[in-house]
C-alpha cells in the first residue's frame, strides 16, 4: 500500500496547482465551478480562457495515447483534476475532454479521431451531451428521439432535456434511435453534430438557484453529416463504454478539501460574543466530522484512480465515490448554512459570508446526486453488480 506520488508526479502536481492558482486570481467573485461557466457570458469567457491556457500546455489531452498528443498516463489527469478542483478553476470541458475524448479513443474510427481529437485538445470546440429525454431519465434505453439515415446524412427528430450547457456548446454528442424496428440495445446510434445546425432549438431550464445550466433541446428535422462513433445501430455499446469513464470525483472532493480550509479560517476570524466561532464546541465537533468524511472521500477517489490506472475500475467503486461525495456535499452545505445562522440563507451580496458560497451549494449539490445516474440507480448497481444480489424481475 503506497499513497505517495513519485517525484515526477509531485513535480507535475505542483505545476498544475501553480497554474491553477494563477488562473484563479483572474476569476470574478462567485464565478467558481463549472456550473458558473454556463450561467453567464463572463463565466463562459473565463472558462474558454482557462481552456486555452490548459490547451497550450497540452493539459486537455493528458491521458491520451502519445500518438494523439497525450502522456498516456491516467494519473496525470487525476493530479490535474485535483488542482482544478482545489482552486475552483473551470477550463476542462466535462463533456468533450472527460467523456467524449476517451470514448472516441476507445470506439471511434481513425477518421473521427483525426477530426475531433485535435479540436478537443486545443479547446477549440466545446461539447454538450444530448442524452436524457422527458420520458427517458434514469431509463435511457426508453428514449424515442430518432436519427434516420438518409444517404450520408442523418435526420434527427425529437427532444432532449437536462442538456448541460447546450446554449454554450459548439458541438454535441448524443444517442438516438436509428432503427425503429430494431431490437433493444441494437437500435441506437451515437452521433456528433454542430449545435448551429438548422432545426436545433434551445430553451433554457433554470436551476433551483436560478442559474442557467440546463436546457431543453428540440430537434426538428435536423439534418447532419454522419459523424458516427462506433457502428450504426450499436450506439448502446458506445453508451456503455462512455459510462465506464466514470470520474473519480477528485475535483469535487478537492474543492471540499479547500472549503474545509476556508471554513477553518472563517471560524477562526469570525467572532460571536467576542469569541471566535472556532471555539464553539458544537461547531468544532461537527466540522471535524465533515473533515474526516472529506478525507475519506479523497482516499476513496484515490482508490478509484488507482483502479482506473490499472484498468480495473468497476461500477461498484465508481458508484461508491459518487454517492458518498454527493451526499457529503449535501451534509457539508447543510451544516455550513446552519453555522452561518440567518446569514446561511443569503445569496452572494454585500451581506453574504464566504461570498454566498454555501447558499449556492445548498441548492447546487443536487447536480451531484441526481445527474450521471441518480444515487438510487448507483445503489442498485452496487447491489447487483458489486454484491451480486439478485435483481427482482
Amino acid at each position: 500500500m503506497d499513497f505517495s506520488f513519485t517525484e515526477e508526479q509531485k513535480n507535475k502536481r505542483q505545476e498544475f496547482f501553480k497554474v491553477c492558482a494563477e488562473l484563479a486570481k483572474d476569476r470574478m467573485r462567485g464565478f467558481e465551478g463549472f456550473e458558473s461557466s454556463y450561467d453567464t457570458d463572463e463565466g463562459w469567457k473565463y472558462h474558454l480562457y482557462c481552456a486555452k491556457e490548459f490547451a497550450r500546455r497540452g493539459w486537455l489531452s493528458l491521458a491520451w495515447p502519445e500518438e494523439y498528443g497525450g502522456s498516456g498516463n491516467m494519473m496525470d489527469r487525476v493530479l490535474f483534476a485535483e488542482a482544478r478542483g482545489y482552486h475552483g478553476v473551470p477550463g476542462v470541458d466535462v463533456f468533450g475532454v472527460q467523456m467524449l475524448a476517451p470514448t472516441i479513443l476507445a470506439c471511434g474510427s481513425e477518421e473521427i479521431k483525426r477530426e475531433f481529437l485535435p479540436k478537443i485538445a486545443t479547446g477549440e470546440i466545446q461539447f454538450c451531451e444530448l442524452w436524457s429525454e422527458p420520458n427517458a431519465g434514469s431509463d435511457l434505453a426508453s428514449l424515442t428521439t430518432t436519427a434516420i439515415k438518409q444517404g450520408n446524412e442523418y435526420v434527427i427528430n425529437g427532444q432532449k432535456i437536462w442538456t448541460t450547457g447546450a446554449h454554450r456548446a459548439h458541438w454535441s454528442f448524443g444517442v438516438y434511435k436509428d432503427d425503429l424496428g430494431g431490437k433493444p440495445h441494437h437500435n441506437m446510434v451515437f452521433l456528433l453534430f454542430d449545435m448551429k445546425t438548422p432545426g436545433v432549438t434551445i430553451r433554457p431550464i433554470k436551476y433551483i438557484h436560478n442559474m442557467h445550466i440546463y436546457n431543453e433541446v428540440f430537434l426538428d428535422n435536423v439534418r447532419v453529416p454522419a459523424k458516427v462513433v462506433g457502428q450504426e445501430h450499436e450506439g448502446w455499446a458506445v453508451v456503455n463504454t462512455l459510462a465506464a469513464f466514470e470520474r473519480s470525483n477528485i475535483d469535487d472532493i478537492m474543492r471540499m478539501q479547500r472549503d474545509i480550509e476556508h471554513v477553518v479560517a472563517y471560524c477562526n476570524t469570525t467572532k460571536q460574543d467576542g469569541v471566535p466561532l472556532a471555539r464553539n464546541p458544537v461547531i468544532r465537533n461537527r466540522l471535524a466530522k465533515i473533515a474526516g468524511e472529506v478525507e475519506a472521500a479523497r482516499m476513496l477517489a484515490y482508490r478509484v484512480a488507482d483502479l482506473q490506472n490499472r484498468g480495473e475500475l468497476t461500477l461498484m467503486e465508481a458508484g461508491a465515490v459518487k454517492i458518498f461525495e454527493s451526499e457529503l456535499l449535501e451534509r457539508f452545505a447543510s451544516l455550513m448554512t446552519d453555522v452561518l445562522g440567518p446569514y446561511g440563507q443569503v445569496k452572494m451580496s454585500r451581506w453574504s459570508p464566504m461570498d454566498g458560497w454555501w447558499e449556492r451549494i445548498y441548492q447546487e449539490h443536487f447536480v451531484q446526486s441526481i445527474s450521471m445516474g441518480t444515487n438510487e440507480i448507483q445503489r442498485n448497481l452496487i447491489a447487483w453488480r458489486g454484491l451480486e444480489l439478485p435483481r427482482m424481475k
Binding site: K206, I208, D338, P342, S349, W351, F366, I370, E376
Partner: protein, 378 residues
C-alpha cells in the same frame, strides 16, 4: 382528547385552501418571488376582505376574535400554498402589539391591521445574526419627548413595504440581557430610515433596515420602557409556532406532490412509486411530516390554552426546521431532474424550507432553549 380540527376549523381550512388555489396559484407565488416588490395589493385586499389579518385579533379591535388554534388552521393552508405577502410578518407584529400595547395603541393599530390597511413587521435580529436576546444591541436614547434610534436591524420581513415596524432596542444598560429592552412601534416612513432588500434563497424580501437618528415619539413605546423583553419573547414564541405550523402545511404539500409524481412517472416500464427503495424514502418523509405535525399541534394547543409552552414551542420549531428541510430535499431527489428546475414547485418548497429554518430561531438556538427547559444546568 380529540386531536382533530373542529368542524369550524375544517371549514376555515377548506375555504382558505380554495381561496389560495384560486387567487394565489403557484404561478402567482413564483411571479411575486421574482418580482422586485413581491407584494400584490389586489391579493392583499381580498385576504383582508376575508378578515385574515384580523383572524386572531379580538372583535373589539375589528378582528374576528378567533383563538390562536383557529388561526393556525388557516396558517397550515398558507404553508401548503406558500402564500407570499407580508401576512406572517403582520401577524407576528400584531402579537407584540396585543401583548404590550396600551389600550389606545391597540385602538390605533389593531383595527387598521384587521382591515388590511397597514402592514407591520417585527425588527429584532441585528447584524450579529443572534437569535438570542443578547443579540439586541441597537440603542434608543431619550431626547425630550422622543427617543432617538440608531443602528441596523437585519432580516426584517418585507420592511420595504411595511407601514410600521415593531422594533426592539436597548434603552437601558443592564447585566442581564433581558433587561433594558424597549419595544417601539415606528412609522416606517420616518426620516432616517432606509431599507434595502437582502437577496435570499427564498427571495422572500427580508430587509436590512438602517435607523439613522430616527425620532420616535414616546407615545410609540409599546408597553413599558426597558421592560419589553417578556412581550418580545411571547411574540417570538408564538412566531416560532406559527412558522412551524406553516412548515407542516408545506411538508404535507411536498408529500402530496411527490407521491402523485411517483404514481405518474414511469421508468423501466413501471411507475417509479413501485420501486421499494423509493417507497421507503417517501414513507420516511411522511413519518417526518406526521411526527412534526402532532408535535406542532401540541404546542399550538398549549399556546392557545394559555399553558406555558416555551419548551414545546422550541421542540416544535427545532424539529420542524429539520423535518421540512429533510422532506423537501427528498421531494427533489425523488422528482429527479425536474425537481431541480426553478420552474417546478418542489424548488419553491426546498428554498423556503431553508428560509423557514432561519426565521424565528434556528435549530440549535431552539434546542438550547429545550435543554434549559429540560432542567440542564447552565
Amino acid at each position: 382528547m380529540d386531536l382533530r380540527f373542529t368542524e369550524e376549523q375544517e371549514m376555515l381550512k377548506t375555504s382558505a385552501k380554495d381561496f389560495l388555489v384560486a387567487e394565489c396559484p403557484k404561478s402567482k407565488v413564483r411571479e411575486l418571488e421574482e418580482d422586485k416588490i413581491g407584494h400584490s395589493p389586489e391579493l392583499w385586499k381580498k385576504m383582508a376582505e376575508l378578515g385574515w389579518m384580523g383572524l386572531i385579533i379580538p372583535e373589539q379591535y375589528q378582528g374576528m376574535g378567533m383563538t390562536f388554534q383557529d388561526g393556525m388552521a388557516l396558517i397550515e393552508e398558507v404553508g401548503r400554498n406558500l402564500l407570499p405577502e407580508p401576512f406572517i410578518s403582520t401577524l407576528v407584529a400584531s402579537f407584540a402589539i396585543l401583548a404590550a400595547g396600551s389600550e389606545s395603541q391597540k385602538q390605533e393599530f389593531l383595527p387598521k391591521i384587521s382591515r388590511g390597511e397597514i402592514k407591520v413587521s417585527l425588527a429584532y435580529l441585528e447584524e450579529n445574526g443572534k437569535y438570542d436576546v443578547s443579540g439586541i444591541t441597537i440603542k434608543a436614547a431619550p431626547r425630550g419627548e422622543d427617543f432617538i434610534l440608531n443602528g441596523t436591524k437585519m432580516f426584517v420581513e418585507m420592511a420595504h413595504i411595511a407601514d410600521y415596524l415593531v422594533c426592539a432596542a436597548r434603552t437601558g444598560d443592564s447585566a442581564k440581557p433581558e433587561d433594558g429592552i424597549t419595544l417601539f412601534i415606528i412609522d416606517a416612513k420616518s426620516p432616517g430610515i432606509t431599507t434595502e432588500i437582502i437577496p435570499t434563497i427564498a427571495s422572500d424580501k427580508l430587509c436590512e433596515v438602517k435607523f439613522d437618528n430616527v425620532q420616535i415619539p414616546k407615545n410609540n413605546v409599546l408597553g413599558e420602557v426597558n421592560k419589553g423583553y417578556q412581550a418580545l419573547k411571547d411574540a417570538l414564541r408564538k412566531a416560532a409556532i406559527v412558522k412551524s405550523v406553516e412548515s407542516v402545511g408545506s411538508m404535507q404539500a411536498c408529500i402530496d406532490m411527490t407521491v402523485a409524481y411517483m404514481k405518474e412517472r414511469v421508468q423501466y416500464g413501471r411507475p417509479i412509486g413501485a420501486f421499494q427503495a423509493l417507497q421507503h424514502l417517501i414513507a420516511d418523509a411522511w413519518i417526518a411530516t406526521q411526527t412534526a405535525r402532532y408535535l406542532v399541534y401540541e404546542a399550538v394547543w398549549k399556546e392557545s390554552s394559555g399553558l406555558p409552552c416555551d419548551k414545546e414551542a422550541s421542540m416544535a420549531k427545532a424539529y420542524t426546521n429539520e423535518a421540512y428541510k429533510f422532506v423537501s430535499k427528498w421531494g427533489i431527489r425523488l422528482h429527479g431532474g425536474i425537481g431541480t428546475s426553478r420552474e417546478h414547485d418542489m424548488s419553491l418548497y426546498y428554498r423556503r424550507a431553508k428560509a423557514a429554518d432561519c426565521a424565528y430561531g434556528g435549530t440549535d438556538f431552539h434546542n438550547e432553549i429545550v435543554a434549559r427547559e429540560l432542567g440542564f444546568q447552565k
